[in-house]
């Protein structure tokens, strides 16, 4: 394979083009995945803010019924895995899953251990750092955002219920969104990109191979046959044609040389000399 002209010409080009296209595909997919992940995190953060703003008035009024109704309605939205509000001690006060109510949050669960891995839990997180991606109990990938509910002057001054002014955080809102549709979209993008990459590779490598075979290797084989015919003095009577320009010069020279050899041989035959035996 490596001894033939075709192998020598096509192997490095094939490796280089295939490798470069694959690297481009991998980098492009990674970039798309990052953008999609960042957008989904922004969407989850916006949803958490929306829930907090929608429930703020009910919290101020300590209206448990409106609070649970709002949370329940938002929780019924497609793709929402869970919404829960737990107090500072980690007891779940409101949840879209009733069986979780009044239970202690499992700090060793995959979504919680990220902040609770150390002796002291992480208390200050940036907007993007509040977002966690983990697999839930059913093995489905979930994006979750935890937003602290801060104590505001309206809360500590309200007559209805008591929150000391010194208490910084009243509780935590935890929202989990399913990443199934997102992963399905990414898989679809990936499959399309794989198909496009394969088609580009096939067109590029196949196109280069076809052109080289048609324009270089086949004329070379024809020239090689012509040389063999010249060696055995079986060249056709008409000059060779249909060669690319560079090979045409060689073919014409070969033909002319053969013609000169023929006429020299004829002359020698008439004068009784033999050209084939060395002098």
């Amino acid at each position: 394979m490596f001894k033939s002209l075709a192998g020598r010409a096509l192997v490095p080009v094939g490796i280089a083009v295939t490798g470069f296209v694959v690297v481009c595909f991998l980098l492009l997919y990674s970039a798309i995945k990052n953008i999609v992940d960042r957008d989904s995190a922004v969407n989850a953060t916006n949803l958490a803010d929306t829930v907090l703003k929608s429930t703020r008035y009910a919290m101020l009024k300590n209206d448990y019924e409106i609070l649970t109704t709002v949370i329940s309605n938002v929780g019924q939205q497609k793709g929402v895995e869970h919404i829960r509000i737990f107090n500072k001690k980690g007891i779940i006060n409101i949840s879209t899953h009733p069986e979780e109510l009044n239970r202690q949050v499992d700090k060793t669960a995959e979504g919680c251990i990220i902040c609770h891995a150390g002796k002291d839990p992480v208390t200050t997180l940036g907007k993007m750092e509040q977002v966690r991606i983990f697999k839930n109990g059913r093995g489905e990938e979930t994006i979750s955002i935890t937003t602290p509910i801060y104590n505001e002057p309206e809360c500590s001054n309200a007559a209805c219920h008591v929150h000391p002014a010194g208490q910084k955080v009243l509780g935590t809102l935890d929202i989990g969104l399913s990443r199934k549709s997102l992963l399905d979209s990414l898989a679809s993008i990936r499959n399309q990109m794989v198909a496009f990459t394969l088609m580009i590779l096939l067109l590029t490598v196949g196109g280069v191979t076809a052109l080289l075979i048609r324009s270089v290797f086949q004329p070379l084989q024809k020239l090689s046959r012509l040389a063999q015919q010249a060696e055995t003095d079986e060249l056709p009577a008409t000059p060779p044609s249909h060669f690319p320009r560079e090979l045409d010069t060689i073919a014409q020279s070969l033909y002319n040389l053969n013609q000169k050899l023929r006429s020299a041989r004829k002359d020698a035959e008439t004068s009784g000399k033999n050209l084939d035996t060395p002098q």
Partner: protein, 180 residues
């Protein structure tokens, strides 16, 4: 033609036995050097495979990214590293193909392993190695394959030529006329 050359010494012929031995020794050492050089690409590939295995395990022997970034400052963004990786892959392939075309002997395989290790480390410290591991691995395999092929084909051609020269030198005590 050969017989004529033997009877009429060409330039460089008529050398003494010590010069003949020196020439043979020189050719043999060239053949040995080229044989060793032809495997250089495979050694570089093996070293890259070793580095890739370490990268796959998140460089267990290195300090954690947080401690390194605390000491050295924030790493470049993953998108910036990806852009540089793309440019580097493109340039390295073009350079290798150009050297192949010009028939230049250049032993550059191991420096590529160094550059690729650098990309692994940058992604590691930017905490983006998981997403970009296969891109660096693919770039490495491509560049090192093209480089290995270039070095191997160069050495193969040179070895054929040197062996012919050696055979000629053994018979005639000098290099073929076209090599002089």
């Amino acid at each position: 033609m050969t017989e004529t050359s033997d009877k009429q010494p060409a330039p460089g012929a008529g050398t003494g036995p010590s010069q003949r031995d020196n020439l043979l020794e020189e050719l043999r050492s060239d053949i040995k050097r080229l044989t060793t050089l032809s495997n250089r690409g495979l050694w570089a590939m093996s070293l890259f495979a070793l580095v890739s295995m370490m990268a796959w395990r998140d460089f267990p022997l290195l300090p954690l990214p947080d401690s390194v970034t605390a000491a050295l400052g924030a790493p470049p963004s993953p998108s910036m590293i990806s852009l540089v990786l793309l440019l580097y892959t493109f340039s390295a392939i073009i350079l290798s193909l150009s050297r192949m075309m010009a028939g230049i002997e250049h032993k550059s395989s191991f420096c590529h392993v160094g550059y690729l290790t650098g990309f692994f480390l940058f992604y590691h410290f930017a905490k983006a190695l998981h997403d970009n591991y296969w891109a660096v691995f693919g770039a490495g395999i491509t560049i090192l394959s093209v480089e290995s092929y270039r070095i191997w084909s160069y050495c193969r051609e040179a070895l054929v030529r040197k062996n012919e020269q050696l055979e000629f030198a053994k018979k005639h005590g000098r290099l073929p006329p076209e090599e002089q």
